[in-house]
């Protein structure tokens, strides 16, 4: 009884499969499907798939309407460039593009994983004559047409691995500036060994020693806040250098130094810096790691806690160095109300006005970066400062030349070289 049923079922399945194959075979498939790295200056996240249109565009009342492009990632162990891939597919074929365009013979895919190996396949999609293929409004990878015919899938011959480029030609101007600026700084460091370099007085930094003295005389702590940015921010690095100098002085005078932190990595670095400073000052026994503590990484949670510390501990001096956001005024106002002498330094131009109004001294922008050289008078740092100054002269010269070039370019429109001078500064994406 079971045998005829099974035979019938298999026959039915085979006939259905044959019908499907016949239906697919009815429609001509695209040819010469190739996949290639896009060859542009990218990190390897793009690939290009090309193909040739089918030889016949109309068959049995159906017209060629567009193409579907699928990708398949091959399996293996990938460690960046070092790939030990296999021919075994890691995933099923994934539809990555639907092109309802009969003329299309190429597509750039922008979402591939660098160095992984891929195969591509293209299917021609046919719609009844007079009907255009349309992508669904809800899903751009789905067809809105109900009655369509698909060719057999044409697959690319060999797998391709999209490669990231080592050198991005669009960033040549950045490289030139970095190398030029570095050369200037290195040269000034070399020259600075022969003679002393002058640094103009910076009022905010002159007041640092006064603030430490005041705290020592009053027997109250110093509060140091290194901004709310991460360790990767230049302002935070500058704040760390100032903290090192400050900690050396507080260690010498045995003045407590409180450093509430908002970022755990910054806190770890600050502990190392302060510990080092206490060692250099010859007072390692006075170093108290618990005075450099993590509060919370929530912006206003941190502010609420620091405000509380200001009102309870009554520090004699507050230092705000680094990058600040909306909390700048809240902190500076509370510090002012607590009666502390306040010195701020930030390159956050939106917050500078608040520090200028609420603090006794403010280091603006680059004054913050200059602080470590100013305070330590370390010849290396001072020479760097001189190098930066020379860099500024170069920038001013470039600005004047650029403005002149732009002005001449507006009048003499055929002077291409003056336009190209300004265009050289363009940051290309």
């Amino acid at each position: 009884m079971m045998r005829p049923v099974m035979t019938g079922f298999v026959a039915l399945l085979l006939s259905a499969l044959c019908c499907l194959t016949a239906a697919q075979g009815r429609f001509p498939a695209p040819t010469e499907v190739r996949m290639a790295d896009d060859g542009e200056d990218d990190e390897g996240s793009k690939a290009i798939v090309t193909w040739q249109a089918p030889s016949v565009a109309e068959i049995d009342g159906y017209m060629l309407g567009g193409y579907e492009v699928h990708l398949q990632q091959l399996g293996g162990l990938y460690l960046g460039r070092m790939a030990f891939s296999t021919t075994r597919p890691a995933k099923e074929w994934e539809l990555v593009a639907l092109l309802p365009d009969v003329e299309a013979t190429e597509i750039q895919l922008g979402d591939v994983v660098p160095w992984r190996r891929y195969l591509a396949r293209v299917t021609a999609v046919y719609a009844p004559a007079g009907e255009a293929l349309q992508a669904s409004e809800d899903d751009p990878l789905k067809l809105a047409n109900r009655d369509v015919g698909r060719s057999a899938a044409a697959m690319s011959a060999a797998p391709v691995s999209p490669a990231g480029k080592t050198y991005n030609r669009k960033r040549t101007n950045v490289l030139v500036w970095v190398l030029g600026y570095s050369a200037i700084v290195l040269l000034t460091i070399y020259l600075a060994r022969r003679r002393e370099i002058y640094i103009r007085p910076i009022a905010g930094l002159e007041a640092v020693n006064d603030a430490i003295g005041r705290a020592t005389e009053m027997g109250r702590p110093i509060l140091y806040i290194a901004g709310l940015s991460g360790i990767g921010d230049i302002a935070t690095i500058a704040a760390m250098l100032i903290l090192g100098h400050l900690a050396k002085r507080t260690a010498a005078y045995e003045t407590p130094l409180l450093v509430p932190c908002q970022d755990p990595i910054v806190m770890t670095v600050q502990r190392e810096i302060v510990r080092e400073a206490y060692l250099e000052a010859g007072k390692p026994q006075n170093y108290e790691p618990e005075n450099i503590f993590f509060v919370t990484d929530s912006q206003f949670g941190y502010v609420a806690a620091v405000d509380g510390i200001m009102m309870r501990e009554k520090p004699a001096a507050n230092f705000y160095m680094g990058y600040f956001y909306a909390e700048a005024l809240i902190l500076a106002e509370t510090g002012s109300a607590s009666g502390a002498i306040q010195i701020a330094g930030t390159d956050a131009d939106t917050q500078l006005p608040f520090f200028i109004t609420a603090c006794d001294y403010t280091l603006m922008g680059e004054e913050l970066y200059a602080a470590s050289a100013y305070l330590s008078r370390n010849p290396l740092l001072v020479a760097q400062l001189k190098g930066q100054d020379i860099g500024k002269i170069v920038i001013i010269a470039m600005l004047l030349l650029g403005a002149a070039a732009a002005t001449l370019g507006a009048h003499y429109v055929d002077w291409e070289f003056v336009k190209s001078f300004v265009e050289w500064f363009e940051v290309q994406r």
Binding site: V174, W177, D297, T350, L352, A410, E426
Partner: protein, 242 residues
């Protein structure tokens, strides 16, 4: 139905309150607690402060776990545990994972030196990646935006040229203010003084702009108290009066 509604409500001081109303009361109470700092440090503010810090720190841990550790480390190494089980494992993440674990070595005094490696790596990485970005954004883009026609020649209007000239003069004079290795005397003294004026005008505009933004934040809080919390207060008061 009525019983179900009754059971979802909280009974406080004889008043049946739904959780939304309790939430509004909490918001209002905490707003007043934080604002009480205006009269000085006090126990109510202390309570709100500690609550805020504690909750935000706890929330931060959950966020790091959910948005960093799980998707960027565990699901990358063991994709079958994550939302994309057919993805390939990415063993590159073992390196940052190991560096992260080395940070935890600070808890073991004998091995706390291990934590210096991830710190050095992080600082070096951010500095290296940051320098080209700074050159692009703070130097090249700004320089190109300053290099504009400063005379009304050709198709350039005089008004536009004049504003470009003001920008150019402002940028150059401000740069000279940040020139540190020479006394600000003579020409440098004049240009740096003009530069500081430009800075102060910019800061004044920025101050006014931000103060208005802060006022809108305050208005938002006052609106909450007036239009969301006060109506509930009046309802409760009227019940007591009756």
């Amino acid at each position: 139905m009525a019983d179900a509604e009754q059971s979802s409500q909280l009974i406080i001081l004889g008043l049946s309150l739904n959780p939304q109303v309790v939430g509004l009361w909490l918001q209002a109470a905490l707003t007043f607690a934080i604002l009480s700092f205006l009269i000085g440090d006090n126990p109510v503010y202390k309570f709100a402060e500690h609550l805020f810090v504690g909750i935000s720190a706890g929330y931060g841990v959950v966020i790091v776990w959910k948005q960093a550790v799980l998707p960027l480390l565990i699901f990358k190494l063991l994709p079958q545990l994550g939302p994309k089980p057919d993805e390939l494992a990415d063993y590159w993440v073992l390196i940052p994972g190991l560096l992260g674990l080395m940070m935890l070595a600070r808890f073991i005094p004998r091995y706390d030196w291990l934590s210096r490696y991830p710190i050095a790596f992080t600082v070096g990485l951010f500095m290296g990646a940051g320098i080209p970005a700074v050159v692009q954004m703070n130097l090249l883009q700004q320089a190109q935006a300053t290099m504009k026609p400063v005379l009304g020649l050709g198709s350039i209007e005089w008004g536009l040229a004049l504003s470009c000239l003001v920008v150019l003069v402002g940028v150059i004079c401000t740069l000279t203010y940040f020139y540190f290795s020479r006394p600000h005397e003579g020409v440098l003294g004049v240009t740096s003084k003009i530069g500081i004026w430009f800075l102060m005008v910019a800061f004044g505009a920025g101050f006014g702009n931000t103060v208005m933004a802060r006022m809108s934040l305050l208005i938002g809080r006052v609106e909450f108290l007036l239009y969301e919390w006060m109506p509930i207060v009046s309802v409760h008061l009227s019940k007591y009066v009756q």
